[in-house]
Symmetry: C2
Subunit: 382 residues, 2 copies
């Protein structure tokens, strides 16, 4: 399969590229280094430096026989999109090319507009490019579990049959998100669902929960192949942030009551899920939706798990509830289904103490890099 990975420099894009290449697919990555640019603008750094795409691809070529293709440019620019699609002629497109931070999208008007424009215009360009240049190619889109929010009913996988006044129909599961970033993902879903029906596109929308971890099989122990890893409030996901906080003796930043529950997954499972979706494609005219996570935890549960494992490593992990900068329910019902990817063959890597230990040890090995000032600056939603 010829797979084009949009956002191929990202936390998940790069591991996905290596994984698909190692499984025999022909892979090219596309990126405009938006996330690295936003680091500069917001004054944050990842836990450790990683090479740029040229460097990563060269390193990967040294360790494998794979030549991963590379296109650097902005997918909001149609002439660039046209060049990439005509040149590579993909039969599958994996779409990670979005401004990925909820807190960033809530910093102000400029940040909101960058998120809105980037995410919707890239998604729209991909739809038009597939329609124009590779009509039968499948699109695998990274959505987010955050699109559903925290409803008081069980969360199904994307769709909900509804009976109302004695009549029935099936609809997209109701969506109401907690940030502008998550709202743009809902808007992406609206766009994809319209064009799936109208142009018979083949789309899989992966509603992913927060991802944790660094290592996938392919990067093994070569830091030159690691994905980048953020521990700051803006770009770091919850578990990754806590791990670094624990390593540098910074009290774990639990927002409010800490009863917020989410579905988490290991970065190894992310790359497996994307591959399983690609190797078992959606049909023309189908918007197939999977909930992509393996376990549900509350923020408090994660904090306590890390405190326990930290103690075994001789760390004195403190937990501190802080005034919640977000607007969200801090205690709520949460029961999302996640059977579709298991049925395709996913073998989950659950969050064991060994995995937490390994993550903590990695963070400890880089702890001199941590800028304590960027861990929490209280970027408020209101």
């Amino acid at each position: 399969m010829k797979v084009l990975i949009l956002g191929g420099d990202g936390y998940l894009g790069w591991p996905t590229a290596m994984h698909l290449a190692s499984r025999g697919h022909t892979v090219a990555v596309v990126d405009n280094y938006l996330r690295r640019t936003l680091w500069l603008q917001t004054g944050v750094r990842p836990l450790f430096e990683v090479p740029d795409l040229t460097g990563r691809i060269a390193r990967w070529a040294e360790r494998s026989s794979d030549n991963i293709g590379c296109y650097i440019g902005d997918l909001r620019n149609w002439s660039f999109v046209e060049h990439v699609f005509k040149d590579f002629q993909p039969n599958a497109v994996v779409h990670y090319a979005e401004q990925p931070s909820a807190p960033y999208s809530m910093m102000g008007r400029e940040e909101a507009f960058l998120t809105l424009r980037n995410n919707l215009e890239v998604t729209a360009n991909i739809i038009f490019a597939v329609h124009e240049f590779c009509q039968t190619a499948q699109i695998v889109k990274l959505g987010t579990m955050g699109e559903y929010g925290t409803p008081n009913i069980d969360i199904e996988e994307g769709w909900l049959p509804i009976e109302h006044n004695g009549r029935k129909d099936k609809f997209l599961f109701p969506r109401q998100a907690g940030s502008l970033y998550h709202t743009t993902k809902i808007q992406d879903t609206d766009l994809l669902w319209f064009y799936v029906r109208t142009w018979k596109l083949c789309v899989t929308d992966l509603m992913q929960g927060p991802v944790y971890g660094v290592k996938t099989e392919e990067c093994a122990n070569d830091p030159m192949l690691f994905p980048f890893f953020n521990y700051d409030e803006i770009f770091g996901t919850c578990l990754n942030r806590f791990i670094v906080q624990a390593a540098v003796n910074y009290p774990l930043t639990v927002y409010g009551k800490g009863g917020q529950q989410r579905g988490y997954l290991n970065i190894q499972d992310t790359v497996n899920c994307v591959r399983l979706a690609l190797e078992n494609p959606a049909q023309p005219g189908e918007l197939r939706i999977f909930n992509q996570f393996t376990e549900v935890f509350s923020v408090n549960e994660l904090a306590e798990r890390i405190a326990t494992v930290g103690k075994q490593l001789g760390l004195n992990v403190k937990i501190k509830s802080i005034d919640n900068p977000r607007v969200e329910a801090e205690e709520h019902y949460y029961n999302p289904r996640h059977t579709g990817l298991l049925e395709l063959g996913l073998q989950p890597n659950l969050l064991t103490d060994d995995i937490l230990s390994e993550m903590l040890e990695l963070a400890l090995s880089y702890k001199d890099n941590v800028d304590l000032n960027t861990i929490f600056r209280s970027r408020k939603w209101r």
Copy 2:
């Protein structure tokens, strides 16, 4: 009340401006003449010429004691938005400022992007402007019944309580639209609903059906005050198009089977509905939704009504089913509620034979203006 009408040059924006001014509100209009620009680009003209906003406002001032304010500029441009909001200091904003044509939004990529960018960026700018400059002002947004599409269940007014596996919650009524234009209105709803919850905005979303007619009380019989009126396939609404087709002996263009049902309303009812919403505002943190139409008709029913009334006027009205350029159900269940605006006091002006006669006579008086070539050029959705 100080009411800012965004898109105040439009088919509905201008009659709304006169209506609110005549009822004692202080009114200013904002427009960038987008629709007039798109007429030029797509080669269509309205049934009769109307003055620009300066001319309309001068004419209205001659006939009343009202001075309607006027700002010409693009609401995608933040510095213009900032100027307008600081200068006028509204306590209510009526938002019509959208690319309003479904067929236009389906013509190609450029047209799709203009629609997506214009509609979402203007809506986002309005949200940020109200939050920044007039936090307690209410927003009255024109949505569309087309957001719901044609589900197989009764359509409620915006919201649907759902019971699932023994638990309950209330959600936005499921939305799945039939064009990119309608999809951008769903995306507007997503955006408004997120910021209503997060910033406690006061929003009324009016899910309006296709509007017909020319005359409101305020324009009376002065053609200088008429709204513009399109009869072409791109900018004309269904009933308005049929009326002009009947007047020029062009077979009524029924798309496919003609069983498509929609909720229609008279232009007089539109201005009354918007005023009723403004005078009975939503609460802070409320997204209040009304279905804004008065009667449901199928396309075939409208065509037959016009044929009957045309016969009384000596016209030989032909009806012709043509290959449907759109992707839509041509026969479907349709039962939308519309009680909220009636409860606020709306007195509907239903589609009587007298109203059809009056519209036909107006069209006949301008029939020499009609360019037959622009009536139907089959802009296809696929």
